[in-house]
Amino acid sequence: MLEAVRLSYKKQLSISVVIFRMTVKNIIKTRRTLFMFLISASTLLVALLYLVLRESDNMGISGYAFFAYIMGTLQIRGILLLLSVFYGSTVFSDELDRKTLVYLQSRPVSGWSLLLAKYFSSFAITAVLLVFSTTAPYLVLMAADNPADIIKNLDILGIDLLVMLLGAAAYNALMLMASILLKKPVLWGLTFTLLWENTVVNIPALINKFTLLHWLQSIFPHPAATNEFLSLLNPKPSSIQTSITMLLILTMIFLLVSGFAYRRKEFKLN
């Protein structure tokens, strides 16, 4: 009887798309996403403040330099991490908190389809917000110096967006894995990203390669912001090709571990 049921890959894919759409719809409808949008708009706010302050005083910092500074501090070490930690952990943990995971598990949906749908929904939302928070200040700050710079520096924007997308992919996968394996994924995620990532990335030699931020910063076209003491340690970046490859490999590893952990773990309703 069961052999006759052929749940084809195409069917599983269409079910994944259904889960993806529903997850995105549920997330977008919440006030939390409005709040996260405002968070990602903070780079634009700072860029606009730059324009206002610049008018009143002829400052030496160019729009491009300030954009680089925003990207190196607020964006890559703040907004990218916080959005990824939040959405990466929310998509799965919400199903556990609401106890609606039982509905997904009592349907002919494979664990992989479910997890990949959840992963791509969190990645999609994070990516959209990051694209906005990278592009908006870019347009404002490039135009502040010379509107032609918008086109001239498009390659820089492209690389920034690539870094953000790779970062979103890796961190979201990591947080999905954490939300399956751990009880308080947000706490661990914040501790890992804000403490481990921001500290260990500055240590030279092999140890800084145990951070995702190292690989991202190796591709990043702007100098990473750090304090005077840590800058003395001067860790060397890796090559761009190696960094992109490592990020993709790590993303795959996190997703694979998520899948296997999901299969092994027992989600008992209380």
């Binding site: 009887m1 069961l2 049921v5 749940l7 069917k11 269409s14 079910i15 259904v18 889960i19 529903m22 549920n26 409808k29 919440t30 609401r98 106890k99 609606t100 039982v102 509905y103 997904l104 598990q105 009592s106 349907r107 002919p108 949906v109 494979s110 664990g111 299969r263 027992e266 989600f267 008992k268 309703l269 209380n270």
Partner: protein, 307 residues
């Protein structure tokens, strides 16, 4: 008899707590009531058949397959969880459509099927309201609806009538009976005995992770020797009948209530007693207005076995 669900020496523990203790059982088609007090192991039983838990020992099969990590089996069963679980922002229709789509329905077919089933469960007028705004009974009905939308062969109902009003309960009981006569296999887990009794006579009685009894209620009752069977008989010639009944060796005790024209008889062999009683009534022409066995029911079975 065809076995759909089989437990073979299944045990399950959580740390030092044994939730199920060496259970071996075959569940046939039809309605089976899974009964027991809180903590008996009913939810663990259902978690095992739906594959959400792995047995610590032993083997569970559903339709000949291991249910653990077997998403294909989900095509054949529907599950009504005990917990109040819902997506707050979704309307009843959106929720049902989503559930149907997860079974592989195309969007339009899913919407059509959802509206039909919402109508059958008297939720059609509320279909555009968020599920969070539903009353407890309505949420219970929508949980049942989502389990039935794909017309499954097997239905697992975990406390399906929690929070329902009497009309809702009766409707659910009728629905279960209807589904059973349509050939579905249904396992109803509950601690509300009279409701289960209204749906089925086939029960599994659990306590402390063990199966205390399994089978038809009356058969189980008949086997409980240490508690004699009580029968109440209303007749105008109570004393006379009592003296006749005392001649039978299965009758242990008779209590006569003259004012109420009532006899309370205790018998250790109920089958034999009923035969003798009929013969006595017919031979002597007694006018019997009422016969009842107050403990020939699940409540008493439960009480005697769980004590």
């Amino acid at each position: 008899m065809k076995t759909l669900i089989n437990f073979e020496n299944v045990s399950r523990w959580y740390g030092e707590v044994i939730a199920l203790n060496d259970i071996s059982i075959n569940i046939p088609p039809g309605v089976t009531g899974l009964l027991g007090p809180n903590g008996a192991g009913k939810s663990t039983f259902l978690n095992l058949v739906t594959g959400r838990l792995n047995p610590s020992k032993g083997k569970v099969t559903v339709l000949g397959e291991d249910p653990r990590n077997n998403f294909k089996l989900a095509r054949f069963y529907g599950f009504v969880p005990e917990q109040d679980a819902y997506y707050e922002k979704l309307s009843g229709l959106d929720f049902m459509t989503y559930m149907a789509q997860l079974h592989g329905f195309e969007r339009k077919a899913a919407k059509r099927a959802s509206m039909e089933i919402l109508e059958r469960h008297n939720l059609i007028t509320h279909m555009n309201k968020p599920v969070a705004a539903y009353s407890k009974g309505m949420r219970q009905r929508i949980k049942l609806a989502q389990a039935l939308i794909h017309d499954p062969e097997i239905l697992y109902l975990d406390e399906p009538m929690n929070g329902m009003d009497p009309i809702g309960r009766n409707e659910t009981i009728d629905l279960v009976k209807k589904l059973s006569s349509a050939g579905k296999t249904i396992i109803v887990s509950s601690h509300i005995l009279h409701e289960v009794e209204a749906m089925t006579q086939q029960i599994i009685l659990m306590h402390n992770g063990k199966i205390l009894a399994e089978g038809i209620v009356q058969e189980i009752r008949g086997l409980i020797d240490e508690y004699p069977h009580n029968v109440i008989i209303h007749t105008d010639r109570a004393r006379e009948m009592a003296s006749q009944l005392l001649n039978y060796d299965d009758v242990i005790d008779i209590n006569i209530e003259d004012k109420q024209n009532r006899l309370k008889v205790q018998s250790k062999e109920p089958e034999k007693f009923y035969q003798n009683l009929v013969a006595t009534i017919v031979e002597n022409g007694y006018n019997v207005t009422y016969i009842d066995s107050p403990d020939d029911n699940l409540q008493s079975v439960f009480k005697y076995l769980v004590k």
